[in-house]
Subunit: 343 residues, 4 copies
Amino acid sequence: MIKTGIVGATGYTGSELLRLLYHHPETDIKVITSESKTGQQFSDIHPVFTQIVDQELKSADEMADMDLDAVFLALPHGVSMEYVEKFKDLDLKIVDLSGDFRLSSPEVYESWYNKDHTYQEGFKKAVYGLPELHRDEIRKTNLVANPGCYPTASILGLAPMIKEGLIDEKSIIIDAKSGTTGAGVKAKPATHFSNVNDNFKSYGLKRHRHTVEIEEQLSGLQDEGIRVQFTPHLLPLDRGILATIYATPGKKIGEKELKQAYADFYQEHPFVRLRDTAPSLKDVRGTNLCDVFVTYDERTDRIIVISAIDNLVKGSAGAAIQNLNLMFGLDECMGLKTVGMYP
Amino acid sequence: MIKTGIVGATGYTGSELLRLLYHHPETDIKVITSESKTGQQFSDIHPVFTQIVDQELKSADEMADMDLDAVFLALPHGVSMEYVEKFKDLDLKIVDLSGDFRLSSPEVYESWYNKDHTYQEGFKKAVYGLPELHRDEIRKTNLVANPGCYPTASILGLAPMIKEGLIDEKSIIIDAKSGTTGAGVKAKPATHFSNVNDNFKSYGLKRHRHTVEIEEQLSGLQDEGIRVQFTPHLLPLDRGILATIYATPGKKIGEKELKQAYADFYQEHPFVRLRDTAPSLKDVRGTNLCDVFVTYDERTDRIIVISAIDNLVKGSAGAAIQNLNLMFGLDECMGLKTVGMYP
Amino acid sequence: MIKTGIVGATGYTGSELLRLLYHHPETDIKVITSESKTGQQFSDIHPVFTQIVDQELKSADEMADMDLDAVFLALPHGVSMEYVEKFKDLDLKIVDLSGDFRLSSPEVYESWYNKDHTYQEGFKKAVYGLPELHRDEIRKTNLVANPGCYPTASILGLAPMIKEGLIDEKSIIIDAKSGTTGAGVKAKPATHFSNVNDNFKSYGLKRHRHTVEIEEQLSGLQDEGIRVQFTPHLLPLDRGILATIYATPGKKIGEKELKQAYADFYQEHPFVRLRDTAPSLKDVRGTNLCDVFVTYDERTDRIIVISAIDNLVKGSAGAAIQNLNLMFGLDECMGLKTVGMYP
Amino acid sequence: MIKTGIVGATGYTGSELLRLLYHHPETDIKVITSESKTGQQFSDIHPVFTQIVDQELKSADEMADMDLDAVFLALPHGVSMEYVEKFKDLDLKIVDLSGDFRLSSPEVYESWYNKDHTYQEGFKKAVYGLPELHRDEIRKTNLVANPGCYPTASILGLAPMIKEGLIDEKSIIIDAKSGTTGAGVKAKPATHFSNVNDNFKSYGLKRHRHTVEIEEQLSGLQDEGIRVQFTPHLLPLDRGILATIYATPGKKIGEKELKQAYADFYQEHPFVRLRDTAPSLKDVRGTNLCDVFVTYDERTDRIIVISAIDNLVKGSAGAAIQNLNLMFGLDECMGLKTVGMYP
């Protein structure tokens, strides 16, 4: 059994980790922490766990002596880096769910997050935790930077054709739509019920942080730098990201060749599900799947990809567990094989 | 033209007053105030009014010299009473949308609102602004206490049979369901999108403040004191209150006699719409109507009433305008004749 | 392994059975049937199962020779009875999810369902499949009549105090609110998106079929006949039933005694979760739990119970699996221990 | 008073026409028709009109003798053309809300609608009813082809920069998202509540009929043929279309010049509201406004436009009334000046 701790358990990623790990046969949740709610029961904060996980919330300070094997950091960016530093001398595998170590350097981080990075050493060890791109490195590292939700949907939708050099790298447009849980558990005007319900809008036009995360990962798949147009929107629903992706072929291509590139790329990746028709968000809700549909429009000479995930699972807690499985040499799918709840 | 001011324009009742008064031919909105957003444009706070009502928000302190004829107080309880006092020597008709002057005495107020009342004089002048019960007094007063949203739906659903003494006054149960706008514009956990969406629950069991407001008004319709069981619930939608009301007949009664009592009671009240079938919330959304359906269940010897309003219109801003119309001798329906938006 | 068949797999109860059984270690789904979609893949009808359950849909006629141990009938009432009759000579345990064998006699059935019953023999064998009331009989029978969704929430909310004779049996009011999946997978005006979204209404006033099912089961708990007022409403959400139940005490009672009665009654029933605060629907969504909160209002001398289930799990497919577990001597909870997905 | 008839009043466009015309001072609704519901009351079909518009539904056959001045055809495509032909010799102005006369020729119609056109003469008279492009022709015609909802949002978002030749005409991508009312009043699986609620997906990829309507209108604004990538999606809400539009500049351009082009183009068009920030759907819900926000992304050298309408108002019934106003020489805004209902 992997002795595991979860740091920061009051948010959605924290509770989602617990929901999923409840079925994981090889982890033992030794400690759940919250600095603001220390001493309360986990189920006081998340009543859905009443009589299931009533464990008391601890302070992270108590973790050092617990001889843990693994820790999930379910913390906001800027806070996570402190804990990565604090734990650096422990023999501990860390999955950091924040954005603190996802980018290529402290400089890039600071320019997109408008914030100093206080543990620059971390960048040397951190591996970007998208198993479909970096499975081997993940297996060997002690620090995984778990990908952002939008980047997961976007990169998985684009990777095969970028790897194969099929598209004009200046042509990529990612029109993404997300449920509200991506904005977190904290009540704020943007996620006030009446501002979201029966409503829809874009936000973060031209400057959302996930843009650079997508560009860096895609650029790593071929020689040239990739620049993408990324536009997020807020859907009146809880969970899910659907990215509608447009790109112009860089050379002559047909529907069949295109689909083959995707089939090849993902043939050994159990959580990418290639679809024959455009997926809906509920097809993946609650699961660790990324549904991908790709098609070519002859009339306009353009490729369209639809990619769908549950932002709290494949876009966060599920991917974190997938990474944990890899780091400990377990079956990549352990604890993650569920059917979506529909409806 | 009635020179009108709106005090407290950042909430939902404030913006709803503006939406409705935009079509009112006899009012001129001279001033809109907000102490926290003074100097900003009204449409900065409520973008739906962009290029329609861009008026600058003032401080209420500027109102004294404006020679206004009428003022709406769209303020929280506890704050409203200060303004009623402040305006007491001006020749001004006031519609107070808060709960500060709805109850029979400062003592009752203090015991249900857990708060001192600082302007007890106001109770002498205030008239409870439900025209279907107090139209004549409203015509003559300078201070209307606009009813609460739950009380409006509940009282209008019950008044005819209580007036006629048809029911056992200990048997009344009001199972009420409201959209989230009743909880206000301010973001808080209870109205965080993901806590409301696809969810439903009761709240304020046994001790909601509107209970006493309902009981006092109903008790005024017959000699004996009325005690009701009132249970509010939160619906995953923006607007509307639907109250399902149960009562046991106090004497032998038939469906026909029951419906006749309602027809008689409301025959000169244009905003109560008696229905032949149970109404839905969207039937009244955006309108000043209260839809009422009443039926008798022989099998159980029980009366069931379904009552539906839009909490922001008949339950708040619309009723306030209806009251203003009465106070100024205008047609009661002026500015309020709209068809609900369905869907 | 229990060789299992599912008859009627195109509806919500059919797909929910598959979703849950996917994690059940002792069942092997040998066959899934649909007469209207024979030959298609299960995942063509329910895309959420793509590449997970692609099994071909068969005709139920092929089942006779399959040597099955158990069959779930996920069929409409009126159709189910034909299959119960058809399978009557096979050595097979049947869980019937329809209403065909839930009532006490063909006569009662015919008067509430307005339909002839063509297999009256079935009533002799059928056991009402609410384990919290009839666990021992379920263990011994070959035919379980799985309870209706509203009755499950209502009966579990009321059973302890009726068993203990605590209430006036004429006083029971069940104000129930359900998501739309209770109305089935078939598109119809009542469940057209724009008729439900941002809307709320009652339906089936005074005459819903589940009334008699509730009354019969409750009457079985004490000597006298119970008559309930049952009012269903339609919520703008997918899953869940929340029943707000009112009753007048038949004798002097206190909060503590009341809660103790519930604790005693349910102490060995793992799926009833007694709550200290009123539950929300999302607390139980996706799970086999029935959350029950009970309280006494001194001011009005009335008992209020809030009961919440997921209509597709504890109100249907989950209860069916719970019954299967009992019929085969397995752990009652097998395959059913999940945490609700929140949000 | 303009004596007006509405043909086909059982759908959403029919009831929306009535909702809006209720406030129109110069129209008198002489007749409302439905072939399938002849003899019923309009409010039986649309209960929101109870006691407001209880008018009996007639057969369209009765219209010939009514000496009407104007008729709205709120009919499906394929049916509308029959009525346009039937009314061709009457002295009547027709606004056809279907797609039957929107395209440039019967041939184009037949290739995109897969259906013979039975009244090809109509194309000679029909004017495409987008006042922002064709106001003068609308004033003079007797037959307006009211635009599609997606085309309205798309064309208004693109027209100024196409007119000014600012963009590469091969680069246009329209990623559009619509509420469910665009799919009509009829219950079908695609709009079954549980398939839409908490869900999101694309549909009609590469081949939606509105594509050609958009292309033809845009091509009319400059010499070269325009080809667009148009991808519609289905939002879990009732009303509204939000189009996120991408285009590459055809020459060097700055933010300021771009915004100026829009300001110039729309300066005399009262229903296009240029916004400084990205609009949300609720900003225009219930109104005849089209909110447009345009910006230039230097980093990617791309123009982004967000365009938002209420599909049942500016995308249908509201535009139809705007056209009627123009055809009869009335103020273009008559009956259409409302503030959106927010929330």
